[in-house]
Amino acid sequence: MKTPNKSRFLLAGLTASALLFASCGGGGSSSIVDSGNTEAPATDGSSAPTAAPTTVATPLASLPPCDTTALDSVTETIDITFWHGMNGDLEDALTALTAEYNASQTKVNVSLENQGGYEQTLDKYLQSSQDSRPEMVQAPEYAVQVMGDTDSNVPVGACIESAAYDTSDFLPKALNQYFTEGVQWSMPFNVSDPVLYYNKKVFEAAGLDPNKPPTNMAEVRTMSQAIVDSGAAAFGLSLDTGADSGGGWFLEQWFAKLGELYSDNDNGRLAPSTKVNFDSQVGIDLLTDLQSLVNDGLAYNVGDNASGQDALLKLADPESAAAMTISTSAALGTVLTTVQGGLIPGITTDDIGVGPMPAPGDADAPGAIVGGASLWIVNHDDPAKAAAVWDFISFLITAESQSTWAAATGYVPVRSSALEVGAIAEKYTTDPRFKVAYDQLLQAADSPASLGAILGPQREIRTLSARAIATVLQGGDVAAALTDAATQANALLSAYIAANQ
C-alpha cells in the first residue's frame, strides 16, 4: 500500500519541480497568444501578412436562404426560442414586447431565455451544437465577425430581400454596423453609443455655460482647467480604461469620428482584418492628449473596473469629484434614477447634463458608432422557422415597437419613423438628453472608417488596447505601449484567420 503511494508522490513532486523550474527559468519575453501559432501554417506571427486576403465578398446566394412566405401555409403554431442577454428594466421591456407579439397572432409563439448577459449568451451560443442552439439569438456588436464565421445563421438580408422589406427610414449607421462583405447579417435592435455626462452645477460654479458641454478634447481641456482653477470640482474629466468603455470601445469611436480606419481591409468590412491601426500617429496623438490631461491634474483615471460604473461614480465623489465623464447612453436611465435617489447631495436629475461624446483634439466630429446588440436568425434548415423568426424580428423593429422599447430602456430607436409615434416622441421632446445618442447616429455613415471596425477577436483586442491606455494613463510611453498592444493584436488576428478560414 505504501510503496506505490510513495513513488506516485515522488513522480508528482518531480513533475511539479520541473514545471516550476521551467516556468521560472524560461526567461525572455514571449506572449501566450503567440503560442497558438507554433506549428500552424501560414500564421507567421512575427511578420503579419500585409497583402490583402484573396477572399472576395461573400455573396448572399451562398448562404442559407430565407423565404418569408413559408409562414403563410403554416397551420400549427411554431415555437421559437430566443436567447438574450437583457437584465433588469431591459428584460422587463423585452418581456412586455414579446408578450404583446405572442398575443397579437397565433402562428408564432416566442419563449425568452435569459442567458445572463452578452458574454454569456455569446459563449453559450459558440459552445453549443447547432441542434441545441435556439431559433433566434441576440449578439453584441463586437461579435459580428465571430457570428458570421460560425456559418450557423440565416442572414437577415436574405429575409429583407424575400419580404421586399423597406429599410429606407433606418439609421444607416445602425443597419450598416451589421453589414460586412456584402451581407446584412443581423438586425440592429438595441442601439447605444457613448455620450458625455456632466454636472451642470459644477459648470455654473466654474463660470461655464451649463448648457454648452465641450464638443472636443481641446474644449474638455479648457473647461476642465476652469473647473479645477475655480475649485468647483477636483477634476474636470473622469476617465476609465475598461475594455467596454475607455480602454477599447471609445478608442474605436474616436478613430471613426476622425474618419480613420481602425484596422485594414476597410475596417474588416471588405475581408477579415489582418492588422490594427491604433498604433498610428492618430492613436499616438489621441493617447498623448489623454495622458497630458491626467498629468496636468485635469482628468482622473478611475482604472479598469469593467462594470463601467466607476467613471460615473466619480461624479458623485463627496471629496474629490470630477465634473464630466464619458459613458454609454444606455446608462442614462440608471444615472437619473440613482441621482433621484439622492446619491449626490444637492444635485437633482435636472443638474445632470448630457452632451455628445467629445471628439479628439480640436476636431468637429459629432458622430458615433453603434454599440449594443443585434438579432440573429439561427439556421435550422426549416424555412418556416426562419420565417417565424423574421416575423418576430419585423415586429420588434416596427416604429411602434422601437418607440416603446427606446422609451422604456434608453436605447436609440433604429429607425427615424419611430420618433413620430408613441412614447419616444414625447420623451425626446420633454427630455432632449435622451435624444443626444440618437442625434450622434444621424451623422453620415458614408465610409467604412465612420462605421468602426469589425474584428474576429474584437473583445480580446479591446482588452489589449485597454492595457495600452492603462499604461499610458499611468505615465507610460505612448508609442511603446501602442506598438506592443498592436503587435499582440495582429498576432491574435492572424491566429484567428488561420483557425477560422
Binding site: 513532486g13 513533475t15 521551467a22 516556468s23 521560472c24 501566450i32 503560442s35 497558438g36 458574454e119 483557425a499
Partner: protein, 303 residues
C-alpha cells in the same frame, strides 16, 4: 492455489460491483481529463470545432509565456496570503469558541456564518465597501488620511494592494469553512488530557501547543490542503472585484482567471485554455502530494 482461483473467480463479480462507479468515473472524470490534455495541443476555431493539432510544444510555449508565468506567480502569492492567515484565524476563532460558556452558540453561529455566503455575495459586499468614490471605507476621513491608497486610487485599483484586498475578502469568505472544520477537530480532543495537563501545571499556551495542535493535526493538514487548492482555484473574487486587474500589471490575474476571465486574451482559445487548465491540474496534484508528504509525517493520526 485455491485462494488464487477463488480470487480469479471473484474478478467478474468485482467488476460488476465496481461497474457503476467505474462508469461514472470514466465518463465524468477520466474522459474529460484525457480530452482536455489532448485539446491542450490543439488550436480550434471560434466554435471549438475544426481543431488541428499544433503539437505538444503548445504546452511548453504556455509554460514559457509571460502570461502563464505571471499568473502562476500571482496564484502562489495569493495562496501564501490566504492559506496561512486563513488557517491561523480559523484555529484562533475555533479555540476561542471551544469553551462551555453561555452564549457561545451565538458566537459559533457568527463565526461560521460566512460558509453560507456565496463568493458572489461576499465579493459584492467588499466591492461596495472598497469602491473609492462612494464606498464606506474610502470615505472615512481619518482612515484615508492614514492610508491614502484607500481613496486614491482605491485598494482594489492599486497594483500594490489589489491582491491583498482580494485575499482579505477571500480569507473572510473562507473563514466559516475553516472554523467549522477546526471546531470539529477540537471536539475530538479528549478533555481528560487537558485536565490532567492542567493538574500537572501546564498553562493555556503549553496545552494548546502540546495537546491541542498535535491532536488536531490531521484536521489542520486536511484544511491546509483544501484551502490551498481553493486558493489555486479561486475565480469569483477576481472576476467580481478586480477583473484580474489592475491592468497593465495584472496584479490579480491568477491562473484560473487567465483561463476563464472575461478580460483574458485567451478566453476564446479553447486549446490554450485547456493547456493552462491541465498545467494547473498537474501543479495542484503535485502540490497536494508534497503537502501530504511534507506534513504527513508530523501528523498524529492517533493510535
Amino acid at each position: 492455489m485455491a485462494i488464487k482461483t477463488r480470487r480469479l473467480r471473484d474478478i467478474p463479480l468485482a467488476f460488476a460491483m465496481l461497474g457503476p462507479s467505474l462508469l461514472v468515473l470514466l465518463t465524468f472524470v477520466l474522459y474529460p481529463l484525457g480530452k482536455a490534455v489532448w485539446l491542450g495541443q490543439q488550436t480550434c476555431d471560434v466554435q471549438g470545432k475544426n481543431c488541428k493539432s499544433v503539437g505538444w510544444g503548445q504546452y511548453t510555449n504556455v509554460i514559457k509565456s509571460d502570461q502563464f508565468q505571471h499568473a502562476l506567480w500571482v496564484t502562489v502569492k495569493f495562496a501564501l496570503i490566504t492559506v496561512p492567515i486563513g488557517l491561523a484565524l480559523g484555529v484562533g476563532l475555533a479555540v476561542l469558541a471551544d469553551k462551555q460558556l453561555r452564549g457561545m452558540r451565538f458566537f459559533r453561529t457568527i463565526f461560521s456564518s460566512t460558509i453560507a455566503t456565496s463568493v458572489a455575495v461576499a465579493s459584492l459586499m467588499w466591492l461596495f465597501l472598497l469602491q473609492p468614490s462612494i464606498g464606506v471605507l474610502a470615505n472615512l476621513g481619518w482612515l484615508h488620511d492614514i492610508f491614502p491608497v484607500i481613496k486614491e486610487p482605491g485598494l482594489l485599483k492599486d497594483s500594490g494592494t489589489a491582491l491583498w484586498s482580494v485575499g482579505i475578502s477571500s480569507i473572510w469568505a473562507n473563514l466559516g469553512f475553516t472554523f467549522i472544520l477546526v471546531t470539529a477537530g477540537l471536539q475530538s480532543v479528549p478533555k481528560e488530557m487537558h485536565e490532567s495537563a492542567y493538574v500537572d501545571g501546564a498553562g493555556g499556551w503549553m496545552r494548546f501547543t502540546n495537546i491541542t495542535l498535535p491532536l488536531i493535526s490531521p484536521t489542520l493538514l486536511f484544511t491546509t490542503v483544501v484551502l490551498t487548492s481553493r486558493a489555486f482555484q479561486a475565480y469569483g473574487e477576481m472576476d467580481l472585484l478586480t477583473n484580474g486587474g489592475p491592468i497593465p500589471q495584472d496584479s490579480t490575474t491568477t491562473v484560473t482567471y487567465l483561463i476563464y476571465g472575461s478580460s483574458s486574451i485567451i478566453k476564446n482559445n479553447d486549446g490554450l485554455q485547456a493547456a493552462v487548465a491541465v498545467l494547473l491540474f498537474v501543479i495542484l496534484l503535485a502540490l497536494s502530494a508534497l503537502q501530504f508528504r511534507g506534513f504527513g509525517k508530523r501528523v498524529h493520526y492517533g493510535s
